[in-house]
Symmetry: C2
């Protein structure tokens, strides 16, 4: 059994994408894993520039690149016909091709043929690996931290990556563990947990953070919310399989309702803590909340300071904005133990 | 969007199966839906006899049968080579073929070819229908009752079917709604909820019990347990999508641990009630527990009486053994409202 895996170093493919919004995956890779990103491949001079060296596929391969990573996502998630020639060329030059868009690489005949001829791999990071077992619930060695949320899309991946970086800076033995497509590209491995068949969600989560040294931390990218009317099965299965020792609640200041589910109020941070503890204790009695991570981009600087101080006082925990201020106080809290 | 559906009446296929244990699906159909079972097809005289008229496929089709249902499951879940000729013949005679074994009918070339030639359907009840949406959480009209459990395999399907039958007898407008393969065969429709991709589990549950008349009850077959170390994602997603107004907790007297997970104690009935209420209130504030259904087959008659009386006193709810004594007291409780 293995999780999805990408081989580094990467050549980041940006196509002709002019909008940095749609080049988020490539930008995330360059930001969080600069050491793995050898260069970029742009099909137009006005395409997004990540400040990396420009390569064509042949030169990149000759210089040691292993995987061309499609780092843009257009609406609808298709793979542009204009890209296919370049991707075929990349495979023949000796690169794997990885993508997280909706269209599967393996559904495009020319790519399958080129991969077969060149002996290279097509890596669809939205497709779970085969043979995922049912979760065992058996306690694994090593420490685990899970980011959980009041909702989707409010910084669980960012918070986990920021915690990994800050903990590494303090000398922790630590790895970010990915459960979503962009996270998998950044980590180089992982399982897209929301695409796993329901019976195997906890088992997939167990594979994502395998047994490790007793003092090693896995910082696991959370998904959804245990209170989400659409996605709670994913969040609960991930929580049960992760067996976290610690968790951080992620939220967004000013968000009042579940995004896209306007009849559902955002659950309170206290309710998320309580429910996460209740479920988490089933597999790890030692679980505890160690902090709150809030996206405060809608607030002024003064409002942010007051908001975070209030959260910290209300819950007796460090409260941070990981983008504006970093996650230092949470690592302090963990470090003081 | 549609759930899986089987067309009645059925010809129950028993092959050469001599063990009634492995003919459970056929026996369940004959027990719960005698009006849909036109006859049986046995390939050997010593095969299990359900007391139905024996037919060959041609005579059955000529007499109005619509679907040949494979009602046996051998270990490993394969479809025996010895059956293929008969199944091909059934398709050419004008019958659909339905199965819930592990091997997909659609993976067997000769069956696919015969179905295509005859214009009949292969129905794999373990395969969820395509295009299941994400759950909306929007409240649907009609009433819903979900059977939940302290564990797997302790009577959630049986209890739901017994409740449907008893409620029908009292004049309720009521339908059993299936979420597992055997249940789907019995109901004639449904979705195998544990085979749905995690993101869509609640959405699938919403499809299983669609909006209905205000006084209509759906009695929904539960799955797993919200405390299960392997399957809680399934149970939580089903609970959230079902929006039950009422639930019955199913358990087994004498079971001390989660079956197959020996390091996990069986959760208490009280804990299951509390957690089910907490999660269920997210989508239906009116949710309540209306009874306990216990498999007491390990107890003597005296022990059973005492055990059920104690449960009833402890929780202030009717407590029944659906097989030994029926579910009458739970329907009384519901009826008194």
């Amino acid at each position: 059994m293995a999780t999805i895996a990408l081989e580094a170093p990467y050549l980041l493919f940006l196509g002709s994408e002019k909008s940095s919004t749609y080049a988020k995956t490539a930008a995330g890779l360059a930001h969080w894993r600069p050491e793995l990103c050898m260069g970029q491949l742009r099909l137009a001079t006005e395409a997004v520039d990540l400040g990396l060296p420009d390569y064509d596929v042949v030169t990149a391969a000759a210089n040691g690149a292993k995987t061309l990573v499609i780092g843009t996502a257009v609406i609808g998630g298709a793979i542009s016909d204009a890209w296919i020639d370049v991707l075929v060329e990349a495979l023949h030059a000796g690169l794997d091709v990885a993508a997280g868009v909706h269209t599967r690489l393996s559904s495009i005949d020319r790519l399958v043929e080129a991969a077969s001829q060149s002996g290279r791999k097509l890596v669809d990071v939205r497709v779970p690996p085969p043979h995922i077992p049912v979760g065992t619930g058996v306690k694994r060695s090593g420490k685990r931290l899970l980011t959980v949320g009041t909702d989707c899309a409010l910084g669980k991946k960012y918070t986990a990556l920021a915690l990994e970086r800050a903990m590494k800076g303090r000398g922790f033995s630590v790895d970010f563990r990915a459960t979503g497509q962009t996270g998998i590209m950044i980590a180089g491995s992982g399982i897209p947990i929301d695409a796993v068949v329901a019976d195997f969600v906890s088992g997939a989560a167990e594979m994502v953070s395998p047994a490790n040294d007793e003092d090693h931390w896995d910082v696991i990218e959370g998904q959804g919310s245990v209170f989400h009317p659409g996605y709670s099965a994913v969040s609960v299965g991930l929580l049960v399989g992760s067996q976290p020792d610690a968790f951080v609640v992620c939220t967004e200041a000013g968000r009042t309702h579940i995004e896209g589910w306007p009849s559902f109020e955002l659950p309170s941070i206290g309710a998320v803590i309580e429910r996460t503890l209740a479920i988490g204790r089933q597999v790890n009695p030692a679980i505890r909340c160690i902090g709150i991570s809030a996206n405060t981009s809608r607030l002024s600087e003064l409002e942010r300071t007051e908001y975070l101080a209030q959260l910290s006082a209300d819950y007796g925990l460090p409260a941070v904005d990981p983008i504006a201020l970093g996650v230092g106080p949470i690592v302090d809290f963990l470090d003081e133990d």
